[in-house]
C-alpha cells in the first residue's frame, strides 16, 4: 500500500507513533546500557535446556511438530489472534505476535509450515503471565504461520499467510 493513498489522519497518527517509539528507544537504550551486569546472577536458577522439546523441533512437517509437541489436533479459533505482516520486509526478521482471550492458557507455540523445521518457538505461560507474546522469526519462503494456544488441555490455532520474497535462509 502506498502512503499516497492513506488519509492525512493516518499519516499523522503514524507519525506520532514513531515519535513515541524514538523516545522510548532513547530512554530505554541509555537505561539498558547501565543495566548490563549490575549484579551477579548467583541467586538466579540458570535456564535449563533439558526440557527443550527436541523431538518437536526436529519434525519436518507441521503436523509432525504439533503431534510431537502436544499429541493433539488443534482446532481453529477466532479467539487466537496472530499478528504477522502480509508481506515480510525481509524473511530474516519477521515480527510475529500471538495473543488470545482464551482462559487458562498454559503454553503458546509458533510454527512456520514452509520452514525446514516448522516449529519455531514454544512458550511456557505460567499462571499470572499474560497469554501474549511477540518475537521475531526467520521465514524461508512464503508460508503459513500457525499460532497454537494450549488452554484447558485443548489446542487452539490461528493461521496467517506471510509472503516472503527475500528469504531468511541465506542470499
Amino acid at each position: 500500500m502506498d502512503l499516497n493513498s492513506m488519509s492525512e489522519n493516518t499519516v499523522k497518527r503514524r507519525g506520532q507513533t514513531r515519535r513515541t517509539v524514538v523516545q522510548g528507544a532513547l530512554a530505554g537504550g541509555l537505561a539498558t546500557l547501565g543495566l548490563a551486569g549490575t549484579a551477579p546472577a548467583d541467586r538466579a536458577r540458570a535456564a535449563d535446556a533439558s526440557k527443550w522439546p527436541k523431538e518437536a523441533f526436529s519434525q519436518k512437517t507441521e503436523a509432525g511438530a504439533i503431534k510431537a509437541l502436544y499429541g493433539k489436533t488443534p482446532e481453529a479459533s477466532d479467539k487466537v489472534s496472530l499478528d504477522a505482516p502480509e508481506i515480510a520486509e525481509n524473511g530474516a526478521v519477521v515480527p510475529i505476535s500471538v495473543t488470545t482471550t482464551l482462559p487458562g492458557v498454559t503454553s503458546i507455540a509458533i510454527l512456520a509450515a514452509g520452514n525446514p523445521f516448522p516449529l519455531a518457538a514454544h512458550f511456557v505461560i505460567p499462571a499470572g503471565t499474560s497469554a501474549a507474546v511477540a518475537n521475531r522469526l526467520k521465514l524461508a519462503k512464503t508460508t503459513n504461520v500457525i499460532a497454537l494456544v494450549e488452554a484447558g488441555g485443548k489446542i487452539y490455532s490461528a493461521t496467517k499467510e506471510v509472503k516472503v520474497t527475500v528469504g531468511g535462509c541465506g542470499g
Partner: protein, 289 residues
C-alpha cells in the same frame, strides 16, 4: 558459461545504448554554473511535490515513509532495535580512552555529542571534504591509533553512537565561500547523477527516478533524507553497515567496481546528498530491510 557471459555483455551494451539515447533527448543544462542553493530548492521541490503525503521530516525514514506494511514492521522492530548492540559498543568505544589518556571526545566540537548533523564538512585547510568516518580515523591517527576499516562493525558502532546522540537535529551542512568547496559539491553532484556499471545506473536512477518503487518487497528510498539514517542495520546484511558499505554495495549491484572506501568521490557525493538534506533530522542509526 561462455555463451552466458557473452549474452550478459550484449545486454549491457543494449541497456547502455538505450539509456544514452534517452539522455541525449533532454535539454542541456548550462555548464559551469554551481548554485547549491538553487539545486537545493529544486531537489526538495521535486520530492515534496512527488510525495505530497509524506511529511518532510519523514523522508529520513526512507522506505518506511512510503509503505504502510513496511512501516508497521519497522515500528515493531524499532521498539527494541537490532542496532542496540552496536549502539552500546559504540558508546563504550567512544568513552574508552586511548593509551595516551585522550578520548574521541577531545577531537570534536561539543565533545563529539550531538554533532553528526554537521558532517560531512569542508575542511578549508586541506581543501577536502571530511566525513564523520574520516574525522574519526583522523582522531585515531592523532592519538597514535591505527585506522578502523571504513566498512566494518567498529566504525559502524562508533558512528551509530554519534548519530544517536544527534537524533532529531537538523542537517546543517555548509559550503564555505571557497572555490574548492563548490568544486567538491559539484563533483558530488556529478557522481550522483552519472550512470555507471554495466547496468548503466546512476545513484539517481534508483533514488530519484525510481524512488518509492518496489524492487521485490523493498521500496527504493528517496534521495531526499537518504543519508540521515546512516549508519544502518540491514536485515539483509544481518548487521550494521557504514556509509562506505552502503555506497560500495550500491556500486556492486549495478556491476561497477566500487571505489576505495572514503574515496574523494564518495566523500563528495555524501557532501552533496547531505547538503540536499539540510534541515531534515538525523534519524541514524536506522534499521532497513
Amino acid at each position: 558459461m561462455t555463451a552466458k557471459h557473452r549474452t550478459a555483455a550484449i545486454n549491457g551494451t543494449v541497456f547502455f545504448a538505450i539509456a544514452v539515447a534517452a539522455i541525449g533527448a533532454q535539454a542541456a543544462r548550462a555548464a559551469n554554473t554551481v548554485d547549491p542553493q538553487a539545486d537545493f530548492k529544486a531537489f526538495r521541490a521535486y520530492f515534496t511535490k512527488r510525495f505530497p503525503k509524506v511529511p518532510l521530516s519523514d523522508f529520513v525514514n526512507g522506505p518506511y515513509s512510503m509503505d504502510a506494511g513496511l512501516r508497521k514492521q519497522w515500528i515493531e522492530i524499532d521498539a527494541f532495535p537490532p542496532y542496540q548492540f552496536a549502539l552500546d559498543k559504540g558508546k563504550q568505544m567512544f568513552e574508552t580512552p586511548f593509551p595516551n589518556g585522550k578520548t574521541y571526545a577531545d577531537c570534536f566540537a561539543n565533545k563529539g555529542i550531538g554533532i553528526r548533523q554537521n558532517y560531512p564538512l569542508f575542511d578549508t585547510k586541506s581543501g577536502e571534504v571530511i566525513t564523520l568516518d574520516v574525522a574519526l580515523n583522523q582522531c585515531r591517527q592523532q592519538n597514535g591509533q591505527p585506522p578502523l576499516d571504513y566498512t566494518k562493525d567498529d566504525m559502524a558502532a562508533l558512528t551509530a553512537y554519534m548519530a544517536y546522540t544527534s537524533r532529531g537535529k537538523p542537517f546543517d551542512i555548509k559550503i564555505p565561500d571557497d572555490p574548492r568547496a563548490r568544486a567538491a559539491y559539484q563533483k558530488g553532484e556529478e557522481y550522483f547523477f552519472s550512470r555507471r556499471g554495466q547496468l548503466n545506473f546512476s545513484c539517481a536512477s534508483c533514488h530519484v527516478q525510481s524512488a518509492g518503487q518496489h524492487i521485490r518487497t523493498e521500496v527504493l528510498a528517496p534521495a531526499l533524507g537518504l543519508v540521515a539514517a546512516l549508519p544502518i542495520y540491514r536485515s539483509e546484511w544481518g548487521g550494521m553497515g557504514t556509509t562506505s558499505r552502503r555506497l560500495t554495495s550500491c556500486n556492486s549491484q549495478v556491476r561497477a567496481v566500487p571505489l576505495k572506501p572514503e574515496d574523494e568521490q564518495y566523500r563528495d557525493v555524501e557532501y552533496y546528498l547531505s547538503y540536499m538534506s539540510n534541515g531534515l533530522p538525523i534519524s541514524g542509526p536506522g534499521a532497513r530491510p
